[in-house]
């Protein structure tokens, strides 16, 4: 077998094992309170019969291993069970049905932010590396350092304050529904997307700059410079091809970060996404929803990191020509 294929397959296998381990952690965290969950929901005054009935109704009285296998096989097929809230009567609300439209909204927001942020930060990072220690580099550096140190909701509220309340260019709340037209949707997510763009551009740009500067110290770059070719050619033809691996890692890392940052940003803008849903579910202790959201977030996070690893394996020329 080709060594690259072998490494990729190994990495894929490792990713699957990680996913499995994470799903077990997510599942078993619920079991940390054996029997205590019903007590918590029903209150201290609940009779043992009531607790027993409650557990039986939710299927919590079966062994954990059985429940795990059932949960994960259903989850893989997109069925996350029924939400605890509103299951008191005969009406059952399927978690997947609640999540699906919100997942689309979150994906829409994250994709908008990523489409703007990735090219912008690569461009800024390369420029900063090219003209390092110039005033351009210094300004960009201090701005990004400050942005990184700020909580997302601070950046978000500054933007709301200035762009939505004072200048009235955007709406302070990004309420959308299933039948919002595409362009209207785009306009309404502009502000949350801008917030997330600012946060991840700061991270990504700094990492790109560091990766390029790291490369510029390599002997073959010195060689290229000594040959007398232009600065931009050194960067584009000699440094950049070797920088793809670290840059891919940076992009995936930041897209994974987008997954987490989305929670706070959605709450700020009251955007009906999966992050806001998870926060609501945490407050009402709606376990199936919390678990479903946690699994989706964690899986996205792991898969993006996996993707970064695979890209860096594939683009690494040293692995393509093994000795």
């Amino acid at each position: 077998m080709h060594p690259v294929l072998k490494t990729v397959l190994q990495r894929l296998g490792l990713g699957m094992i990680t996913l499995f381990a994470v799903s077990i952690i997510i599942f078993s965290s619920l079991a940390l309170l054996p029997g205590g969950y019903a007590q918590n929901i029903l209150g201290q005054g609940a009779t043992p019969e009531l607790v027993k009935n409650f557990n039986h109704e939710l299927g919590l009285d079966r062994p954990a291993s059985v429940r795990y296998v059932e949960w994960i096989t259903n989850a893989v097929q997109g069925d996350f069970g029924n939400s605890y809230s509103g299951t008191t009567g005969t009406i059952k609300r399927s978690v997947s049905a609640i999540i699906a439209p919100r997942l689309y909204n979150t994906f829409f927001l994250a994709a908008t932010a990523a489409i703007v942020a990735v090219p912008l930060s690569l461009f800024l990072g390369i420029m900063a590396a090219l003209y390092r220690n110039s005033w351009f580099d210094r300004i960009i550096n201090s701005v990004t350092l400050t942005t990184i140190a700020m909580p997302e909701f601070f950046i978000a509220y500054i933007l709301v304050y200035v762009l939505a309340v004072k200048l009235r260019w955007f709406y302070p709340n990004s309420t959308v529904s299933a039948n919002t037209p595409f362009l209207e949707h785009l306009y309404r997510v502009a502000l949350p997307a801008l917030t997330m763009t600012l946060v991840i551009v700061a991270h990504m740009m700094r990492m790109t700059r560091a990766a390029i500067i790291n490369l510029l110290a390599a002997p073959y770059i010195e060689m290229a410079q000594l040959k007398g070719i232009s600065k931009s050619r050194v960067i584009l033809r000699h440094a950049l091809p070797n920088a793809w691996a670290p840059i891919a890692t940076v992009i995936a890392f930041n897209l994974a970060y987008l997954v987490v940052g989305v929670v706070v940003v959605e709450v700020v803008y009251v955007y009906p996404g999966i992050g806001q849903m998870m926060v609501d579910a945490v407050s009402s202790r709606d376990m199936p929803v919390v678990q479903a959201c946690a699994l989706i977030f964690a899986a996205t996070y792991i898969l993006l990191n996996l993707l970064a690893d695979i890209v860096s394996i594939i683009t690494n020329p040293r692995l393509l020509h093994p000795k």
């Binding site: 990680t18 996913l19 381990a21 994470v22 952690i25 997510i26 965290s29 619920l30 940390l32 309170l33 918590n40 390092r132 220690n133 350092l145 400050t146 990184i148 140190a149 700020m150 909580p151 997302e152 909701f153 601070f154 509220y157 500054i158 709301v160 304050y161 309340v165 004072k166 302070p172 500067i213 110290a217 994974a256 997954v259 987490v260 929670v263 706070v264 709450v267 700020v268 998870m278 926060v279 579910a281 945490v282 407050s283 202790r285 376990m287 919390v290 678990q291 959201c293 946690a294 977030f297 964690a298 996070y301 792991i302 990191n305």
Partner: protein
């Protein structure tokens, strides 16, 4: 005779700790000085909050939504708390909890990390694999999930974040300790028959301290921001305790009416993280001799 004279002429008195501190501070760049001054002000606010703040933490005797005046410098919030006093008391709660969490995670993480580096074998393998699984979950998501399982509350918050952060500290502590364990000075200490305690505290720990201290600064920022985010989301520090994150959340509706009030606590959070980062940067440059840009 002359040799003794020469010796007395050459030997200078050792610098005292205080002299060393002054010397180091004099050489610090402006950014780090700014960071240290900000940190000092925050620390003073946190420690002396009851004496600095004009009103007690949970005082609601004033009317709600008062504009800023001489008695209430920043006005009052919806329930009639003096906003400025809450801001000062929040320094105590938010920073205090973040500090306890960071210290706890450091204690657990570095103890496990150094032990794993020393022991190797099954202990190292076991802990490392568990940590790997935990590292694959974003902290905020996991913290949200755990808080929904075991319930809100300061104690739970500290425990969960400390546990999650300890996994990150473990990774670093193990990596730097592994580099130190194979050093000749550790080997020679072992050969002269020193016990494990000596090897850990006199040989390994002093040598891995600089990266650990840097990491502590960054981890503190991270924990601090996570706590602020969780409080903002309503599952962190609970009222009536004053806290910057929840202060933003409680007053966020004011933004739509054009008041900048909710921005103040958010700014307080941002300023402290920037300050800590500046100091950490300086420390990093000093200890590693690393110069950005070469």
């Amino acid at each position: 005779m002359s040799a003794i004279q020469l010796e007395t002429r050459l030997i200078k008195g050792r610098r005292t700790l205080w002299q060393n501190i002054v010397r180091t501070l004099k050489a610090s760049p402006n950014s780090a000085r700014f960071g240290m001054i900000v940190m000092l002000i925050y620390a003073l606010c946190a420690i002396f909050a009851p004496w600095i703040a004009p009103f007690p933490e949970a005082d609601t005797s004033a009317k709600g939504m008062l504009p800023s005046s001489w008695t209430h410098i920043m006005g009052t919030d919806q329930t009639g708390h003096d906003f400025f006093s809450r801001l000062i008391f929040a320094a105590r709660n938010t920073i205090g909890i973040a500090l306890i969490t960071a210290l706890l995670s450091f204690f657990v993480g570095s103890t496990l990390g150094i032990t794993a580096a020393l022991q190797r074998g099954w202990f190292d393998q076991g802990v490392s694999r568990v940590v790997d699984a935990f590292l694959a979950i974003p902290v905020l998501i996991f913290a949200l999930m755990m808080l929904s399982v075991i319930g809100k509350g300061v104690f739970n918050l500290i425990m969960i974040l400390a546990l999650l952060d300890a996994t990150r500290v473990f990774r670093l502590a193990r990596a730097v300790a592994l580099n130190a364990v194979v050093m000749d000075y550790v080997e020679s200490a072992r050969l002269r028959g020193e016990g494990t305690r000596w090897i850990v505290f006199r040989e390994i720990v002093p040598n891995i301290l600089p990266p650990l201290i840097t990491e502590f600064g960054l981890r503190f920022c991270f924990v601090f921001l996570t706590i602020a985010a969780l409080s903002f989301l309503g599952v962190g520090i609970q009222p009536p305790s004053a806290d910057w994150g929840s202060m933003v959340a409680e007053n966020k509706s004011l933004i739509s009416y054009g008041y900048a009030l909710p921005l103040y606590p958010a700014f307080a959070i941002a300023l402290l993280t920037v300050a800590v980062n500046l100091v950490v940067d300086w420390f990093l440059q000093r200890t590693s001799g690393l110069r950005d840009g070469k």
